[in-house]
């Protein structure tokens, strides 16, 4: 039964009832989130503190496990390690090119689809397909597609008279092979989201512009793109975050090779932790990476959350 609080003579009944209700509301809300928060807290924070702990110790798992305290030495080792910085460079190179290509192509395709009259639903259904797959699985199959002898891609390139690179074996091409795979996988994602954004735009400004006889590119520049800014920003952020963490594709397509030309930061981290079993270096790198990401997020996410107004705005 609903409880009706006795109102004090001073304030009105509803205010008192709201205050009383607010108190037990608080309890209810806290109890609801408790299980989820405990799990997230424990399993997200515990590894974090664990990693912090290991990063200050010597931890070569082949030598028997976590050992003595070494202060900041692991950090110094990692910060001066040229392979580490190589992997960072590779990751940045990959991220910048993959995300740019995906976004540019995706936006272009979104506009194409938006203007289409028939078949939008079918097109969207087909574009979603790569996203339903596991990159680790399709990526592995792309090794076959990239094969210089039996692979389909070089066959098609040959038919068109184009050069047929050694996708996975040439040190200059390998990273691009990964980028192409990533573009294949995520460009539809960008296109779908931008398309949704386009379709959500209000019609009136565009109708007014058409009545005024405004040329197509002027409308694009002054009207469409400014209104699409939140969506574009969101898409770029989402893709950048994921691209920086690239692991699956590298693990199945190239294994970091040839040499270490496709070794992203996360892959190098994996190699240190589970191939060389230097958990200390791996944890240190992971923390440095986390730091970089959090700092970037502080700069990029505030404007993002504000752009989306009431839905996810802070306080």
């Amino acid at each position: 039964m609903a409880s009706i609080d006795v109102s004090s003579p001073q304030s009105s009944g509803t205010v008192q009832k709201k205050q009383g209700r607010a108190m037990s509301d608080r309890w209810f809300s806290v109890i609801l989130i408790l299980p989820a928060m405990i799990i997230i807290g424990f399993f997200a924070l515990y590894p974090l503190f664990y990693a912090i702990g290991i990063s200050f110790r010597f931890a070569d798992l082949t030598g028997g496990g976590v050992k003595e305290f070494v202060g900041l030495d692991n950090y110094r080792t990692v910060l001066f390690n040229k392979f580490f910085w190589e992997s960072v460079r590779t990751t940045l190179f990959f991220t910048i090119f993959a995300v740019s290509i995906e976004v540019v192509l995706g936006v272009f395709v979104a506009f194409l689809i938006n203007g289409a009259t028939v078949g939008k639903g079918l097109i969207r259904s087909l574009l979603i397909l790569p996203l339903a797959t596991a990159p680790a699985v399709t990526g592995l199959f792309w090794r076959y597609l990239y094969d210089t002898q039996f692979g389909l891609y070089n066959y098609f390139l040959g038919l068109l008279g184009l050069p047929q690179p050694n996708w996975l074996g040439d040190i200059n091409v390998a990273l691009w092979a990964v980028i192409v795979f990533d573009v294949w996988l995520w460009m539809p994602f960008v296109a779908l989201i931008v398309l949704a954004g386009l379709q959500a735009l209000p019609k009136e400004p565009f109708e007014a512009a058409e009545l005024d006889g405004a040329p197509y590119f002027r409308v694009l520049r002054k009207l469409t793109f400014p209104m699409l800014k939140p969506v574009l920003f969101l898409v770029i952020i989402l893709r950048t975050i994921d691209a920086l963490r690239l692991y699956d594709a590298v693990a199945v397509l190239t294994r970091g090779g040839p040499g270490s030309t496709t070794e992203t930061m996360t892959y190098y981290l994996y190699r240190n932790g589970l191939v060389f079993f230097r958990m200390d270096y791996a944890s240190t790198m992971a923390l440095l990476f986390l730091y970089a990401v959090v700092v970037a997020a502080l700069f990029a996410l505030r404007p993002l959350l504000n752009m989306f107004g009431g839905r996810a705005a802070t306080r």
Binding site: L79, F80, L288, Y291, L298
Partner: protein
């Protein structure tokens, strides 16, 4: 609400503290003869900058609080008079 704002500031200060440490270890430490001296100086600088952020942040929060209080006081007066 004050809690979250201060948390914001404290978090940023913490990030600054770590950031100084990282940059120091990579670029400035090699210039020092002994590691001890470098680490001590690093801690001083890092804490200093972080503390500065907190001080500036706290001041901004306090100003915001005051402005809010004034605004509320301004709204309350006609209501008080109506009572």
């Amino acid at each position: 609400m004050v809690f979250w704002q201060m948390w914001e500031v404290a978090f940023q200060a913490f990030m600054i503290f770590i950031g100084v440490g990282i940059i120091w270890m990579r670029f400035i430490e090699p210039l020092f003869p002994t590691q001890q001296v470098s680490v001590i100086l690093m801690i001083i600088v890092a804490v200093g900058l972080a503390a500065a952020r907190i001080v500036v942040g706290a001041r901004t929060v306090r100003k915001g609080q005051k402005a809010l209080r004034d605004k509320i006081a301004g709204l309350d007066e006609p209501a008080q008079e109506a009572k």
